[in-house]
């Protein structure tokens, strides 16, 4: 095989992966037993694999910098790519259950790193089931922001327990978020929007951001514009429903 043969899955001019080679089913069953590797604990997450330029050595005892943003169900990674340059000093990771989609984001990040030397070194992606393994990746209070953008709506009532925002899973998100950390959710499904909002509203460890705080937060605007799903909704002139909440210390 000639080494010069162009790789058809990569766009020749940008060096980025072409989405049509990474199509995947829109839904994945979060309840099934996982067969991909999962780190034993947060200290087993290999930062040198995810951020090779920032962590050249596999041993990271000398540095205390940790992942701070998690995009849960990152899809094709649109938001992460925008955040990467907006917060160049912050480590962030996307978590996605679908194998092919994760591969796409991986290639996309590698392509961007090559095309823009020095940039996009703070962003990575991992294939995992965040509903099961969040505590394996992050320590207590490690994250400052979590994103749940356009999650699977799981309309049927019997499948509500598969929703990524649920009263009991919020306990785990509250555990990995630091006090003051922010959870961002958005959807184009009104029913799901109401569900996510009521779950957060009823949880003793979350409070909503005020209107002025929402105005001042540059990330809120990205929720609609940066993701592939958000752009699709905008193209079709659809409506979106967001809920942005802060992690607080529960009143005891």
């Amino acid at each position: 095989m000639s080494q010069n043969k162009p790789n058809p899955t990569v766009n020749k001019s940008t060096g980025l992966p072409r989405k049509r080679f990474y199509r995947a089913r829109a839904h994945s069953n979060p309840l099934s037993d996982s067969h991909f590797p999962v780190p034993l604990s947060p200290s087993h997450v290999d930062y040198s694999l995810h951020y090779p330029q920032l962590f050249p050595l596999a041993d990271r005892t000398d540095t205390c910098k940790k992942i701070e943003f998690a995009d849960v169900g990152c899809g094709f990674g649109g938001l992460l790519i925008s955040l990467s340059t907006l917060f160049p000093e912050t480590l962030m990771i996307g978590m996605e259950l679908r194998d092919k989609v994760t591969e796409y984001v991986k290639e996309r990040i590698l392509g961007l790193r090559v095309a823009n030397p020095g940039q996009y070194q703070n962003v990575s992606v991992v294939r995992t089931n965040s509903m099961k393994y969040i505590p394996n990746y992050f320590e207590k209070g490690q994250l400052s922001k979590m994103f749940f953008l356009f999650p699977d709506p799981h309309f049927k009532e019997k499948n509500h327990r598969r929703r990524v925002i649920s009263p009991h899973l919020l306990d785990e998100y509250a555990y990995v978020l630091q006090v003051g950390g922010i959870i961002y959710t958005i959807t184009d499904v009104e029913e799901l929007g109401e569900w996510m909002k009521s779950c957060l509203q009823n949880h003793p460890m979350f409070e909503p951001l005020s209107e002025t705080e929402l105005e001042a937060d540059p990330i809120v605007k990205l929720l609609n514009t940066a993701t592939e799903e958000g752009q699709k909704v905008a193209r079709n002139g659809g409506q979106t429903f967001q809920a942005v909440y802060r992690r607080i210390t529960p009143a005891s």
């Binding site: 947060p42 207590k140 327990r161």
Partner: protein, 451 residues
Amino acid sequence: MEGAEMEEARVEDREHDHNNTQEDAQIEESEQKNKDAEVAPALVSVHPTQNSVAVAVGSDLRVFNLLDNCAVNLVDESGGASHNDSIRCIKYGTNGKLFVSAGDDKLFKVWSTDCWRCISTVVSEKRLSAVAISNDGLHVCFADKFGVVWVVDLAGFDGSEASLDKKAAPLLSHYCSIITSLEFSLDGRFIVSADRDSKIRVTVFPSKPLDGAHEIQSFCLGHTEFVSCLAFISSPDSPQGILVSGGGDSTVRLWDIISGSLLDTCEVGAKVESDATEGNCSIITGICTILDCTLIAVAIQSLRGIMLLACNLPSRTLSVTKLVSIIGENFVPTSLGSSISGGLLWMVTGASKFRGPDISPCSRVKGISGFNKNSPDSSEQEPVVLADTELPGGVKLLEKLQGSMLIDEKVFLVAADAVKTAMCNLLNKKQYSDEKREFRKRTRNDKKKKQ
């Protein structure tokens, strides 16, 4: 089809197209496994001051009163159903006033130990896998096979009312993972839950449990397979106690639950394999602290006896002190129990229904005494397996708890084996090669089977 509900939810690709012979074979295999998974081990639990001993085998709950030296007749007038399928978990409360039982029949029963009356029966939607009683005796908890822990408020119960009609409220949840063990910390501040996904979660037990327990104190992560059992060791410098856990990875581990950090790991499997077990299966099936918690007895699959571990509190380390073998009898303990201060370790072996020479549930009870607190290595006093007549209650107790004195002991080997297979099928994750997984994905059929 309720027997397979777990499987149904967990791996929908379990269901197959009937036209394919290869798949037919797989269905048979998986159905056979379902059947095997329903074999439940015999269980034992001991009153904190050894007033009584309880054994559960199949749907049978047997209690012997050691104070009056007589068998106990359970009185169940709570209006709820009686246990009609395998009991999976039994436990006494710390003050000994309450006793709880739950299992595959989805019934959770609370008993008052004064007169052995059932004071409350809660019907769950799912099968139950673990139970716990809060240290103040005001709340009782049970966990179902979908990973939800429920709490029932017993406030207002003073023993005078006939029964309590109580509803359970969800307390916390492990995301669709079977909860294998549930324990309160020694100071009662935390509730600890262990699951099939090698996770131990430490949650602050709230002042209003009916509103849910939202504050997670820590996760104890380090087991590489499912966690099967939990126990607490008391230590002068930690009121909550030091957590001990055993699991499918053949290790017993020591944890600081406040930080979730792993203090020590004891590879028990390596110590056993050479002399007592066959094969490589040395899953920890039970742990029990004895003698004011200075010693830990460990039950291991296929081991005819128990392993004794000592915990060095100042250095917070675990070490194997002794292997106590049961000689002359095929006795692989399926459950261990001890009173808080008593130096007697109770063991039971047996199983609910299983495919074997004897269809009926069977159990055999034994005891070990002679544990030496100060010098576990000393040769003056060795732990000894008691003869039947040396047990408190003697033959009378055995007749009650075993149901019979004359059981062919070969049955117990078959029973222990059935329990082992059932546990592996229930808790071990199925491993498929990439090709097989692809094949299963391609041929999956999400539609529910018509009954």
